[in-house]
Symmetry: C2
Amino acid sequence: MSDGPRTQTQPTTDEARTLVDSGLERDAMVTLFGRCTVDYEGRAASTLGPGDRLVVLKPDGTVLVHTDEGQQPVNWQPPGCSHDVMTEGSTLVVRSERSTPEELLVVRFERLDHAVAYDGTDASDLALTGTEDDLRKRILDEPSLIEPGFEPRATERDTPAGAVDIFGADADGAAVVVELKRRRVGPDAVGQLTRYVDALERDLHAGREVRGVLVAPSVTDRARRLLAKRGLEFVPLEPPE
Amino acid sequence: MSDGPRTQTQPTTDEARTLVDSGLERDAMVTLFGRCTVDYEGRAASTLGPGDRLVVLKPDGTVLVHTDEGQQPVNWQPPGCSHDVMTEGSTLVVRSERSTPEELLVVRFERLDHAVAYDGTDASDLALTGTEDDLRKRILDEPSLIEPGFEPRATERDTPAGAVDIFGADADGAAVVVELKRRRVGPDAVGQLTRYVDALERDLHAGREVRGVLVAPSVTDRARRLLAKRGLEFVPLEPPE
DNA sequence: AGTTGCATCTCGAGC
DNA sequence: GCTCGAGGTGCAACT
């Protein structure tokens, strides 16, 4: 059963520090809301002036600093950090640090409105459909979706340029490289397919043609032009469901 | 100044619905915590069984569903959605919907532990250094970092394959394409540079050599081999700060 | 609204 | 630990 969350409204810094410390100690998720500044240094470096934000501390070492806009946190720290909460006078300070790479995030609360520690468990896994893997299964199940006579020979076949999604042969026995994308593609996907085709043409007997087929729901104009210039093909196909 | 957040512990569904509705009405950030299931359908589709999660609703239409692990939300909705909160018996239900593309997220709370509406403002912008743009400025400031005699002629020069980061000439007057990356690069960056070099070699007088230079802190083995095979060059350089 | 490429991308799988 | 590519990527800039 649940006790409900430990919550404090307009707490003193000492009260809040205790709530955060004990919360993280027992693997709770902790949220803080108030006016704060944020400094980050690591792979890049940033500063953020004062503003009202929601700060989420997870027991796995994650930190998220969310403003009232946008899906992405304005600042963050990935899982694996060690959180450290302290007081500097009447200021609550959260330091989250990790190594490899060395990164430090510091949040300083000029004003703290609210602190909560949430205890909970989550045993469920997300079930997601409509991925590139679903598209691959669809093709392996019905190879003629690529073209009549297409025969898959390998998935994730390795080349000096990386792993090919599907490698196979056409009705004439020619090698075919298939690159899959779950959504409309641009020039980057053409570059990827090009790399694979080039690598296999060098790997296999010189002179043997290797066909390259891009499979996606659709392509942009520029991508279509690049495909044509490189002699590559496009098959429109969507992931199932 | 601040009244402090409106907060409810173990609220009834009606109480919570009112708090969420009025909170979003006045552009507050709203958080809910409890045992819930999540269903999503749009660019893909997903289901998530019951578990304890933190749900964040932003006034710009963002939804975030966070478990106690990971930096990324297990489910979400981007800005621009319209939130709808309702009750199904004793169950609180949040529906967030948008168009282009058509997407729907539904969160159903079997048990609701806590609801908060946070009022706040944030006028500060993030100041970030160490980006690719900083690296570009560094090179334009001191072109000899590429090589003695290098002269930048254009940034973001357009080609049929996309825009080139820096286009210039070497001491002999030969065309040089520079591709910048703020961090260690793999085969994808080589493919990108290859596309640009190929495009420019066709655009400029045939026969004129176009050099391709990848600028990054470092490259992977595979990327280095691909560079060599394509006759491209690498200059190790990091963004400033 | 569509395109293009960056991102402190994150994440998982493979090695 | 590093490498590589997918992602419901998000996001800004530009057309």
